[in-house]
């Protein structure tokens, strides 16, 4: 099982890199790709973020398309997580954090009064760096969101959501017999998949992942990466990662951040094989960061 997963994973990476390298697609600077049929799910325009006095994000414009995985890479402290956390306004809870600019979800300004933050966070799910299941049963972990938003009205409906989410992240067979045990008893990788299942349970449009594999071993990482690839068919995914290999493996587009600036964004193959900017090249070739 493990072996086959790994092989398919590897094969896929290789093929995808080959594809992207040899296709030599046009660069996709934001707002200039009307030729693409893909719709934008989220659009950020001229976003600035300040933590008290620190200018953490400087005038960033970036879009997330439907059914794509967008990876954000960059050195530590470059603002990738900050940008991600603006997309579901989880940064609101940080004291002293100020955001300017416009972030749209399906044409609605998420910072305007039109969209309640509760709805926004249900529609833009998030998976954190460290797996953070609630210290309650696996079942209740997943049922939490649907119950919160009254998406389920009976035990049967809840069961259905819980089991289908567990199946979706490939966890069902592993935890079926201990679904009422605490979520914190699972292994790290299982916990992270549980957190993804928990996010899926509220049927989001976009899933934000903040270094979801940084606390996991390579096998668990491979499983999560497979999962991300499958999820792409239904959701838009933004993943912040420190691993360039991971960005190359899972994402269709890559954005490179440096010191709060968006340096470059484009097709993953393009960015990795033919970076337009010197800083990007230095970073991905390991001369910097």
């Amino acid at each position: 099982m493990e072996n086959s997963t790994e092989t398919t994973n590897k094969e896929r990476i290789v093929t995808r890199l080959d594809d992207t390298i040899f296709q030599g697609r046009v660069s996709e600077s934001d707002g200039a790709d009307s030729n693409l049929s893909q719709k934008y799910r989220m659009t950020a325009k001229n976003v600035n973020v300040y933590y008290s006095e620190t200018h953490a994000i400087k005038n960033v414009s970036l879009s997330i398309r439907e059914n794509e995985v967008l990876s954000i890479i960059g050195p530590s402290g470059c603002g990738k997580s900050t940008f991600l956390r603006c997309l579901n306004r989880i940064n609101d809870i940080v004291v002293g954090c100020r955001i300017t600019g416009e972030i749209m979800l399906d044409g609605i300004d998420i910072n305007g009064g039109e969209l309640d933050v509760v709805e926004l966070r249900a529609r833009v799910g998030m998976v954190f760096q460290k797996p953070n299941p609630f210290p309650k049963s696996i079942y209740d972990n997943i049922a939490y969101g649907p119950r919160l938003h009254s998406m389920v009205n009976s035990r049967e409906e809840t069961d259905e959501v819980v089991y289908s989410c567990l199946r979706e992240v490939g966890l069902l067979s592993e935890v079926e017999d201990r679904i009422n045990k605490s979520g914190t008893e699972l292994s790290g990788g299982q916990q992270q998949r549980l957190c993804i299942a928990r996010a899926l349970a509220v049927k989001p449009d976009v899933i934000l992942m903040d270094e979801p594999c940084s606390a996991l071993d390579p096998i668990a990482t491979a499983k999560i990466e497979d999962l991300i690839d499958e999820l792409r068919t239904q959701y838009s995914i933004v993943i912040v990662t420190h691993s360039m290999q991971q960005a190359a493996r899972v994402s269709q587009r890559t954005a490179y951040f440096n010191l709060g600036d968006l340096i470059e964004v484009g097709d993953t193959g393009e960015v990795f094989t033919n970076p337009k900017h010197k800083l990007t090249e230095d970073y991905i070739t390991g001369r910097f960061g």
Binding site: V95, R121, A122, N132, F134, R198, A199
Partner: protein, 431 residues
């Protein structure tokens, strides 16, 4: 300088006598420090042991009461259905005493003889007859508490042995009678049930703790009912919702200061506000509980905030990221995880309140109250104030009553702290 450098570089630095000496000094300093620590701990244990053993030695006697067995003839000539509440029960007791020593005829000696039984004996007889009038006309062999001076005589020769004091409390005649009764097996030390079932009394042999226990129970109940919800709500608001600014800083400093205010000040406050302004009655557990809540709330707030802070932010973020509102995240996810810490703080605060005397003196809970309170609006006293009152009483027998009450108070405090420790262990979560 150069030579030292050379020595160091060649490695011989570690072999010099000076280095060895320094090393020895460091080692002995370490050993000394360890022994200071052990010494301090031993000293602490010694004092605790002294405290507990002296209280225990003094206090165990309170649980035993010397009693005298008398054959009481419930004379129908004295008691009838008509005068159950006004009959001369004292006479029955006296007659039973006189019958033990028929040779005693002088009035003064008779009085001395009858004084050996507790003055509470006639009330006991009355209770017995009113609860079951059918015993009128029969003879019952009953145990009565003996007067406190004879209790002391039986327990530790107080009053007989001039070295132990109490000279003049007991006459020669009484000593003789007492010894005869002991020989006949009519006097025995028996378990002191009254100590737990009776209210306070001026007579040590009749005094019991029930009034104080019930008073403490109602007071603590009121304290808990007020301070726990208020404390937890305040902790939640301050830790999770309040904006961080000068004003909340000011409030935080004041809460910390409040926890350090001498408790008697709260008593004066309670007197001024609850009794004089709001006109609540004096000496009642309701007011006592209100005053003690003022004391307990800061403790609960501080412990509650620490417990909330200990919940990892990832739990909050996890709930918020799923679309929970701030209140939902805090109440459904964070507070349950902080609850063990909050409860521990509450138990510690309540234990503190249970042992508090000074503020209750201010609101009149120091009154001499014989009746056992039936609710938080009945005048009553509490355990530590009862200890204070008894410690103030001149009768020798109150010494052991006092120590016995301290033992019971300590038992409650230790039990509460053990519960707090168990809860902390049991519900402690690791992430």
């Amino acid at each position: 300088m150069t030579s030292r450098l050379e020595a160091a570089s060649s490695g011989s630095h570690w072999d010099t006598a000076a280095f060895k000496r320094r090393l020895r000094r460091r080692r002995s300093a370490e050993k000394r420090f360890k022994w200071y620590g052990i010494g301090a701990v031993l000293l602490g244990i010694f004092f605790v042991f002294m405290l507990f053993s002296s209280i225990a030695i003094n206090g165990v006697g309170a649980f035993w009461q010397t009693q005298i067995q008398l054959d009481i003839y419930f004379d129908p000539a004295e008691i009838s259905e008509a005068n159950l509440y006004s009959a001369n029960y004292g006479k029955l007791v006296k007659q039973a005493m006189y019958s033990q020593f028929p040779e005693v005829a002088k009035r003064k000696e008779k009085r001395q003889l009858s004084r050996m039984v507790s003055v509470g004996a006639d009330v006991m007889l009355q209770d017995l007859v009113t609860s079951d009038p059918s015993i009128i006309g029969t003879t019952q062999s009953l145990w009565f508490p003996i007067d406190d001076s004879f209790d002391m005589l039986y327990k530790n020769d107080f009053g007989r042995d001039p070295d132990k004091g109490g000279a003049g409390l007991i006459s020669k005649n009484q000593l003789g009678w007492f010894d005869t009764l002991v020989e006949k097996g009519k006097i025995e030390s028996r378990f002191n049930k009254r100590y737990f079932t009776a209210g306070d009394s001026r007579e040590p042999e009749l005094a019991g703790l029930r009034g104080a226990l019930m008073g403490s129970f109602f007071t603590i109940l009121v304290t808990l009912a007020i301070s726990f919800p208020v404390g937890v709500a305040a902790a939640c608001y301050l830790e999770e919702f309040a904006p961080r600014n000068k004003f909340t800083d000011f409030i935080e400093i004041n809460i910390n200061n409040l926890a350090a205010v001498p408790s008697v000040v709260f008593g004066i406050l309670g007197l001024a506000v609850f009794i004089n302004f709001f006109g609540l009655p004096r000496s009642v557990p309701l007011v006592g509980g209100l005053v003690l809540s003022l004391m307990t709330i800061p403790t609960i707030i501080i412990a509650g905030r620490a417990a909330l802070r200990a919940v990892p932010p990832s739990i909050r973020e996890g709930a918020l990221a799923l679309g929970a509102s701030k209140t939902q995240a805090v109440i459904q996810e964070v507070v349950p995880l902080a609850m063990p810490g909050m409860l521990t703080g509450t138990i510690i605060g309540i234990a503190q309140a249970l042992g508090e005397t000074a503020p209750l003196l201010m609101i009149g809970m120091v009154a001499f109250i014989v009746d056992v309170p039936g609710g938080p609006l009945d005048p009553s006293t509490v355990l530590p104030v009862q200890i204070f009152l008894w410690a103030d009483s001149p009768e020798r027998a109150f010494l052991e009553k006092t120590s016995g009450a301290i033992l019971i108070l300590l038992a409650f405090l230790i039990a509460m702290n053990i519960v707090a420790v168990i809860m902390r262990r049991r519900f402690e979560r690791r992430w």
